[in-house]
């Protein structure tokens, strides 16, 4: 977590001439997200985040990402809202990078959410799915199920060096999903990365959802499967009380069909595989000069093993 592209106060001032956000009082780089450079800006009118999009976020995707944030904000979801500049644009250019000014959300992300937090986060996901339903833009899930076999093939030779047995595990998961991936589930805009890092809490209530830069169109239930992976594992394994709280709260706002429930073990397997593969990729291709430490892929190897043994959705507390 670091700032990749520095922004001086003088550069900020030139940018702010195009915005009506008041006079700057404080401006600091923050260690947030692994994809972009982020700065905290306090002005006499409020608090903002300035984001410079680095190479992993394509400028062509910004109308989707920033449009979605506007759409969700209008729909009552607490998420960062892009501040349009005086020309009405959602983003500008700063230091040769697309740069957006977004409203700052109060709240803190938790490292060890409890059952109550899992419930609140599940409800927030369902509200997000409902609010995103009529968003008109589309974006394919670049890290969806269709991408995993090729990604896996590019990594398998080196996977054994990370952990013995990883190659066999990935092969087993790919074989299990091959021809059995659920393609006809209800789809719409999903967050696709709703880890505890990306949910802000005030006391036990969700005060905001952040980091929508993996958002895309995919099965709603896949988003839930990502959360089963991201919120319900503890050091000693899967906590079914947490997953029950998460899924139950979700279902109060958006009903799950029988097909979605049946598909959960495969969706959860796929989600674990997705994070295992991308973390493996980031570790194997890690630039030692990069300002970010790669995350440990082995956590997701454990989670993947768990899902491969699941025989019924009831094991997730349904």
């Amino acid at each position: 977590m670091a700032v990749y592209t520095d922004v001086s106060f003088e550069e900020l001032e030139i940018l702010l001439a195009d915005y009506r956000v008041g006079a700057p009082l404080s401006f600091k780089g923050i260690a947030e997200g692994v994809e972009n450079s982020n700065f905290f800006l306090q002005t006499d009118k409020g608090a903002f985040i300035l984001t410079l999009y680095e190479k992993r976020v394509r400028e062509a995707d910004l109308p989707f990402f920033l449009g979605l944030l506007e759409h969700l904000s209008a729909g009552g979801i607490a998420c960062p809202q892009p501040v349009r500049n005086v020309k009405g644009a959602q983003w500008s250019t700063l230091n040769r990078r697309p740069a957006a000014l977004l409203t700052f959300l109060t709240g803190v992300s938790l490292r060890r959410p409890d059952v109550k937090h899992c419930g609140a986060a599940g409800a927030a996901l369902a509200a997000l799915h409902a609010a995103g339903a009529d968003f008109p833009l589309r974006r394919q899930n670049a890290l969806g199920a269709q991408s995993w076999p090729n990604l896996a093939h590019s990594l398998l030779d080196q996977a054994e060096g990370v952990q013995i047995g990883l190659r066999k595990l990935v092969d087993e998961a790919l074989r299990k999903l091959d021809g059995h991936w659920p393609h006809n589930l209800p789809q719409g805009v999903i967050h696709a990365d709703l880890f505890p890092d990306n949910v802000l809490f005030m006391d036990s209530k969700v005060s905001g959802l952040i980091d929508f830069y993996f958002a895309c169109d995919d099965a709603f239930a896949y988003d839930l499967a990502v959360m089963l992976n991201a919120w319900c594992f503890e050091r000693d394994g899967f906590n079914v009380t947490k997953s029950r709280a998460l899924v139950s709260a979700y279902r109060k706002t958006r009903a799950l069909s029988d097909e979605e429930i049946d598909a959960l073990p495969r969706l959860a397997t796929g989600a674990a595989l997705r994070f295992l593969l991308t973390r493996l990729h980031d570790l194997i291709n890690h630039d030692p000069m990069a300002l970010v430490r790669p995350k440990d892929p082995r956590e997701f190897a454990k989670r993947l093993r768990f899902h491969l043994r699941v025989k019924s959705p009831t094991e997730y507390g349904l």
Copy 2:
């Protein structure tokens, strides 16, 4: 600039049980300083910085650093003030590191301060020297003149690989200072690192001085010489209008003796050498896994060459 040691919200909450600073509303790692891990904390009572001291700041020095901040705050200097915990201690322990909670200062640091800013910063330095005069603790300048010959020797073999001529330049500076370093100038607490990064402005007024982790006892005029290096060079060379503004503003609060004025070229040479050597050290010993990019030593080679050619303090605008 990065966060070296992560702090979860849960860990923060345990720490905050020992402080009376209100309920947390926001908590984020910030990219500030190269020595420590820093976090921005907003509570319902105010804004704070949480600093975890990494290996380059010794715990034994914290009574000096934090006591100085309290002393200077009491003396009217706008600088971060350590918040004492319920036991009255200036720092606690968090994630096996000493950790202090400090008040947050509004203001922004400038990359290209103009003449007016140089004047304001010079006045702030003099006020700092005056306010620190009766501070009872002492700390030797670990990076003072006595340290340069050994530091230089440990680097000279590799210096040529950084820039051709660097070895000769460092030798020339050491020879010039050997036996001619001014030892009897008025001394007291100095900041020793008052670069533009460490001065916060609101409009054209100084709103705060930060990052006192090189503060020590040394000649007041050496602190001024550090600022001549840090504030008055532009891409095309030394700007005497800036140095005149800086020194004149300083002298309005604290008079310079004839000895201090005479010594300025040697002090400025020494200050340039100090930053050249420490940057060389950081570059040569750079851990590629470190979360910080080393600063370019060659800037200070240029500045050192400038000072070596100076024949009279009048060239600094005095």
